[in-house]
Symmetry: C2
DNA sequence: CGACGAGTTGACGAAACTCAAGAGTCGTGG
DNA sequence: CCACGACTCTTGAGTTTCGTCAACTCGTCG
């Protein structure tokens, strides 16, 4: 496997705080698998025997509601993993996974990791850390959905995209706006209108390119201080 | 510790699938601590050295937003645990914990559990299962918040309260309506009005007592099948 | 070229929040 | 023992936000 790819895998919670040698051994000779946009990795309810790490692209996790519509639960990018718990515990996946863009993902055999775990109990902590991080992300998402109006959630999304910089910056939407809207818990129309509202705060949108004049303005707005 | 209390602790994910002997040993001589309503267990950002299991009462987890308001993240009842990840990993608590009613909670020393874990790697699975369950609950909450209007979320809450029964049943709100409203992501006013709307579907509310004429009606409504 | 999908915009209606007032409970203290 | 205040909950009125439906633009790709 590519060194660049390995570096991305290493950013994952599971591989971040372990020895380089152990990390390489866990990956073994596995190599990232290419996925075309729209391709389904597994469905909600499937029993999956491997955990997945995104090396490139974006994988959306979604849940089907009874009335036919889907709800986006998460969108995972490079370095992020999913399906750990379902794979390691052998329980049905709680959400379906589908490529939201052309992607490359690495799959690790759960059985192998499980036996590794009994041999080296310290491995339990990275796994727990990974699960904990997933939980925290969800909690934050839930919190924002409950406490912030749509426009502020968009501001927060843009601020996250921009990263910890100050001042002006140009960012690119990582995936389709419709999907972003779903992830933020709103309709595409509302997302579009929300972006329009942010124009006054120095946000210019052209296609998937976004120019932000002052990131800290957005960040303050997302926090609810404004 | 009381046998009845122990039975409740055993319902927890951490203790459900392990030997009775091991469970008793993990609890050791710890005994549930009484908490009065309003008492704070720990604050968001605290480093906590023990994980908590509710034996009686209700503990709410909440996050403070910058503008002063709190957002309810979860409300844990008998048999439920929280703070595992923060305690075991030694990272700051992601939410604060406060008794929403007079309660009794059992606290287990994280350091002890950690050493237990390195000695017996199989213990990693119950811990992972616990974390996974928390995550799943959050995902479902997120899903409902995104996809269902307020009244349906209330219907779902009532259906959950009623359990897997059929027909008519009387239930009691486990904690204050204001808190329920927060947990469901709405204002107390909306919750009150939502309950009023459900009157037509055979839901009668008197104080904290609720009479439901047909549970399956509520359940169908909550699913989005209407 | 034409079909399709993504995105934007407008108009409208429904849902939910805010502000405000009032009823009922409970605990406290005179 | 009663009066008061604090608190929870409900209800009303008004406003905002958001979703729905629909039309239209603009790329992309056969």
């Amino acid at each position: 496997m590519d060194e660049a790819d390995f570096a991305i895998v290493r950013r994952n919670m599971l591989f971040r705080n372990i020895d380089e040698a152990l990390a390489r051994e866990m990956v073994g000779d596995r190599t990232p698998r290419p996925l075309r946009k729209g391709q389904v990795l597994f469905l909600q309810g499937d029993l999956i025997d491997s955990l997945h790490i995104v090396v490139a692209g974006w994988i959306k996790l979604y849940r089907a509601t009874e009335d036919g519509t889907d709800t986006v639960v998460a969108v995972n990018g490079p370095g992020q993993s999913f399906g750990e718990a379902a794979a390691l515990l052998g329980i049905p996946a709680h959400a379906g996974a589908e490529a939201a863009a052309d992607s490359r993902i690495l799959t690790l055999d759960a059985e192998r990791l499980r036996s590794r775990l009994t041999a080296d109990p310290d491995l339990a902590f990275p796994i727990l850390a990974s699960a904990s991080m997933h939980l925290r992300v969800m909690v934050e998402e839930l919190e924002q959905l409950k406490s912030l109006p749509a426009t502020r959630r968009i501001a927060g999304f843009l601020a996250d995209l921009a990263g910890p910089v100050k001042g002006a910056i140009e960012v690119v939407f990582p995936y389709e706006k419709t999907l972003i809207a779903g992830r933020l818990g709103m309709t595409p129309e509302s997302f579009s209108r929300g972006l329009a509202k942010l124009r006054d705060l120095g946000v210019g949108v052209d296609r998937e390119r976004v120019s932000i004049s002052r990131v800290e303005t957005l960040r303050r707005m997302a926090r609810g201080e404004e």
